[in-house]
Subunit: 394 residues, 2 copies
């Protein structure tokens, strides 16, 4: 087992109607003025913002609003939100939404705590975050795990560069997780979320080194239950227990737990960031649903044992001891078939895009940070290999 550091300080309030206590919760931390950050307006339309604001007012918490966060959240809006926070002296950012809103809030939290530094500096990895305002979350989408994670992914429209930073300082202070708030999530977005949750664990699971058998079991157990709950939520969007499993799994899948004791790189995520960075209409989960199977088919022959363990333990497939490659491939096929059963795409064209060869080359080039890095995967992946993976996804 590799050495590791584990730190997941977010206090999770999980269950029915927990968002009704938002005012009380924020007051218990001693804050008086906050910024509510949210997305395209569904939180407003569905009355959630009203309910939160009623609770905040009752607890004597003042607030300003900044909505309009888009999927693949944009740097320009984060900069605008930072301006508002500084001007209004907000003490905490309350993210009401899913991963995009939370990631935007993280960028705002870092930017507002040190307004003299443009947040692109962090995203471009020129400097580590040194302080950040506290962040609270009211989660409305089970997918990204950003509610407990240290990572923040933002797209800079200037060049359409999608970049990320990691900092323990932006791990949310608390997260309110009420599965009922995800009942209205569409079939497609539920599928995207299920894929994204699985991917955060799968990309840690398929790491190149180290034995971490306890971590393996936690990962495999989580995957089995996400697969089952994803099926139920797809058929019955108001099944509380299925929504609850997805919601809690989204947090556990990206708070570090399912990768401890291994080094991991998350190749498919790295490639997908370029895809949805260039094609803004691509939902992150849908992009992963296309790229992960392609990555698997490219890489599995370099890690047959690992792919067999996955096939046998997660998908309950028979081990073919004479031809282990068959078992490995069957596990990949099972994954792909599952994604398709949720209505998820597994080919680039199904994303409604048809990238040219030049665009594929450009995405691969960007993924290698313009030739300055190769991916430390089972075999090193450079520009050429990433182009091959894109072709396998066609």
């Amino acid at each position: 087992m590799k050495d590791f550091e584990y730190y997941a300080p977010t206090r999770v309030f999980f269950g029915h109607g927990k968002e009704e206590n938002i005012g009380q919760i924020i007051a218990s931390y001693g804050y008086h003025k906050i910024m509510i950050h949210y997305g395209g307006g569904s939180a407003k339309r569905m009355g959630l913002l009203d309910r939160l604001e009623t609770s905040l007012s009752a607890a004597g918490i003042a607030y300003v609003e900044c909505g309009g966060v888009q999927p693949n959240p944009k740097l320009s809006l984060a900069r605008e939100a930072i301006r508002i926070c500084v001007q209004e002296k907000a003490e905490l950012i309350l993210a009401v939404g899913g991963g995009s809103v939370i990631d935007s809030a993280k960028c705002v939290a870092a930017g507002a705590a040190a307004p003299e530094i443009d947040p692109w500096i962090y995203l471009n990895r020129e400097k580590d975050v040194e302080k950040a305002l506290p962040i609270g979350v009211v989660l409305t989408l089970s997918a990204s795990g950003s509610e407990m994670s240290s990572s923040c992914v933002i797209t800079n429209e200037d060049g359409w560069l999608k970049r990320s930073f990691n900092s323990d300082l932006v791990r949310p202070l608390f997260a309110i997780c009420n599965p009922e708030l995800t009942y209205s999530v569409s079939k497609f977005q539920t599928g995207c979320g299920t894929v994204d949750i699985m991917m955060h664990t799968l990309e840690r699971y398929f790491s190149t080194d180290g034995e971490a058998p306890l971590t393996d079991r936690l990962a495999e157990g989580l995957l089995k239950e996400v697969i089952a709950a994803g099926r139920v939520a797809d058929q019955n969007p108001t099944d509380y227990d299925a929504r609850a499993t997805l919601m809690w799994a989204s947090s556990l899948s990206h708070n570090g737990l399912t990768g401890l004791g291994r080094d991991y790189f998350m190749s498919a995520h790295q490639i997908e960031h370029e895809l949805s960075g260039m094609f803004d209409q691509v939902a992150h989960g849908a992009g992963l649903s296309v790229l992960f199977p392609a990555w698997c088919r490219y890489i599995y022959k370099y890690a047959v044992d690992r792919f067999c363990q996955y096939a046998v333990r997660v998908w309950n497939l028979e081990m073919d001891f004479a031809h282990p490659e068959n078992t490995a491939l069957a596990g990949i096929q099972a994954t792909e078939a599952y994604f398709r059963s949720l209505g998820m795409p597994t080919h680039l064209k199904e994303l409604g895009i048809d990238p040219t060869e030049a665009q594929i080359e450009e995405m691969a080039e960007k993924a290698t940070f313009f030739g300055t890095r190769t991916f430390p995967d089972y075999i090193p992946l450079g520009k050429e290999e990433i182009v091959d993976i894109f072709h396998l996804a066609e």
Copy 2:
């Protein structure tokens, strides 16, 4: 799934030689004066204290020492340590040891932060802890999980009452977990630790209500790997990976994770506290190894399905659909056989004690807080039922 709150803020530094950074770690939190709290002297004899003190001095951290914590830690020593902390103005308690030392440190942390309140007030549940000094841990025994938990168990020699309190305020700030520090733990203590780790998950697993399938899978996965690692560590005490699995499992098993979404009561723990409270020579893990199988045999017929799931998923036993009780019983037998394979006792006599009927009655009486509570188990357990469980353990 039941509503829950999850909060596990302890920063875990896990792996080889991590204790060498103790000075730097404490300095990073801004503390300058600490109290080192430890046990019977093995930390001193093995040179661990020297190494820690070298690191502390290099980082400019002043320290006072208070050793002598015994298994089933005593209130009198905690009171003495509180006096020293207050007098020396210690800002942090560094627990160097296992669960007894950490629990004692928690009592000291609460007591020293509010010296006007005797800590028995918290243990006797007359008042909640309202403040506590921060606690750091250098873990030398994989067992109690106290390094990430909110619970503190202390024995008051005045009446030999073993009582506990829970408070998020005493969850350690950080824990340094180097599996190598457990290489020298004896076969017997390793067995006790393995049982204790399993029990923290098992007693959450066998809870009376609620379906929490994701939590089940995490619990089952953890149990499978603890069982495997316990066997290896028993045979080869310096197997790093086995020691690492036990150490990380000890933290996960008692930080809340393996019980989320269920209500649980931990009947065997409650009964065991009375046993080792009355018979000070009884190690907690050994007491559980005797009492848990007895509890299982008493209760399984009221929860056959649950015991079958345990037998099938954790022990890979065949389900006997015609006679599910047989499967349930086979799982209990497998557990007991495993405990015995580690050299653990499964009968009261093997603990080196032979309680009289009057003593059994007294322990049962104390467990019900002198008739003021029954255990909310699969069937309510009062004094009479607890006496029966003791008899099954004979």
